[in-house]
Assembly symmetry: C2
Homo-oligomer: 281 residues x 2
């Protein structure tokens, strides 16, 4: 299998994908000790770059790792890579590991592995935005919720189950409170207000933008614990993600949210987010 | 940093470490979707090879992966590698990932990445076996307990804390029951019987052997839930691991186990395990 991008950035240099080599001794591979972030382009330009770089550094902090380049250096590398890889619209993946570990356990934060991959941006079918999607609830809490680590064991193990159910993603909860989707932030609307899970979730770049947009248009935003039963009994629900934007969620498992159609607050936020994307042009 | 072994086995071929390249698109790197196993040699020969290969296949099953070689093929690759790498005594690391993923999410179980690394076996100081060691308790449950995945986020994040406390490892529990150490199995002795946590733990190759040895010498073995308070109030405790064998544990955090010295049942099992190692010669 080959990627759709001929070049990548690896440890300071842009190299052809065919020549890019990660050591089998990399601790990101041997022990899953790695963080990443993923941003998208709008008309070819990185969107919310500063926010994604800030989150990447926060994720690195949580694992005692250090991003070995300045924001400007990373921005320049992304620009060079996008110019070479010639996507229509791209996602840009920044990956940081603890680097090589001769004994498979010890490593030095001073010699990390850092690389940048680009992919062609894939969009969800328009029908999902019109009719809404479903999430499968799953009892799980990410191991380091405040960091975007590369650990997607639970999501990938349930991939077939998600597809078979016609669902978009998993919604993680602890039996009592809702946290986040496996690859997205999750919010509900009750009585006209947006409720956002406060703890044990990754800070969402798009989610944060959308909550700001909600407040700007006079919608109340409530951060805090979100009970699973309150999510099930919500008027509306939606997820936010870098690649998918604002996506209406109309069912959790086989339980409809509200009347099972896309509600007015979600529609307003989808429109507001589209305007923000266009405003970035 | 370079490893102490000049060769490795990668996807069917033995290659110099300097020429071994893992793709940056490997799902084991991008999403931590990988399992492994680790065995040791005794006088240069793989110890408990069949048990380790069985466990590797079980781990693969749990993630929907398939080990792409027969036991005989893997045994031959290990033999070739050990002959080339010339260790005094080795650990052998078998790693299986979902293979390359062009989009960073999808992959095919038909095109896995499989490699074998060897390392020089490192032993604990003799004083640990004489005086016993300490574990730090940590509330955590591994995400797929029945599989030996590459996810060691929690252990590696607490590495400095473990070292600063003079401890050997973390002992995972859920607030009520004890499970396993981050890189070892854990057992306690109460009233002359060995108690082994039954669920939510990885099947231990050395642990299983040691429990058999215990029964052979007339020691009762009880499998089942092990309460944290019963571990704290135990007469003796020990861990088992491939690289470390049977290691007496005389403290959990700053709480001594029994009288804080290595007890008679643990001493018997350490001796029985040493005889089993010699018996493999």
């Amino acid at each position: 299998m080959s990627s759709d991008a001929p070049y990548l950035f690896l440890n300071g240099r842009i190299v052809p994908v065919s020549e890019a080599a990660i050591s089998p001794f990399d601790i990101g591979l041997l022990r899953g000790y790695a963080v990443f972030d993923l941003l998208r382009t709008v008309d070819g330009w990185p969107f919310l770059l500063a926010e994604h770089l800030r989150r990447l550094r926060n994720s690195a902090d949580a694992l005692g790792l250090v991003v070995p380049y300045t924001d400007d250096e990373i921005a320049a590398a992304i620009d060079d890579l996008l110019a070479l890889n010639n996507h229509h619209e791209a996602t840009v993946r920044l990956v940081l590991t603890g680097g090589e570990s001769p004994d498979g356990l010890s490593f030095s934060a001073d010699t990390p592995t850092f690389f940048i991959l680009t992919h062609e941006l894939k969009s969800l079918p328009a029908s999902v935005y019109e009719s809404g999607g479903k999430l499968l609830t799953k009892r799980h809490r990410r191991e380091v919720p405040e960091a975007k680590t590369t650990n997607y064991l639970t999501m990938l193990r349930h991939h077939d189950e998600i597809v078979d159910a016609g669902a978009l993603d998993l919604l993680y909860h602890d039996g009592e409170h809702v946290a986040e989707a496996a690859s997205a932030s999750f919010y509900v609307v009750r009585g006209g207000a947006v409720f956002a899970p406060g703890d044990s979730v990754l800070w969402g770049t798009v989610g944060s933008l959308v909550l700001n947009l909600a407040e700007e248009q006079g919608t109340k935003v409530v951060l805090g614990d979100l009970r699973l039963e309150d999510a099930l009994g919500a008027d509306e629900a939606f997820l936010t993600s870098t690649t998918r934007g604002v996506v209406p969620i109309v069912a959790l498992d086989d339980h409809p949210i509200g009347d099972g159609t896309v509600g007015p607050v979600t529609q307003e936020l989808m429109a507001a987010y589209e305007r923000a994307l266009l405003g970035a042009l």
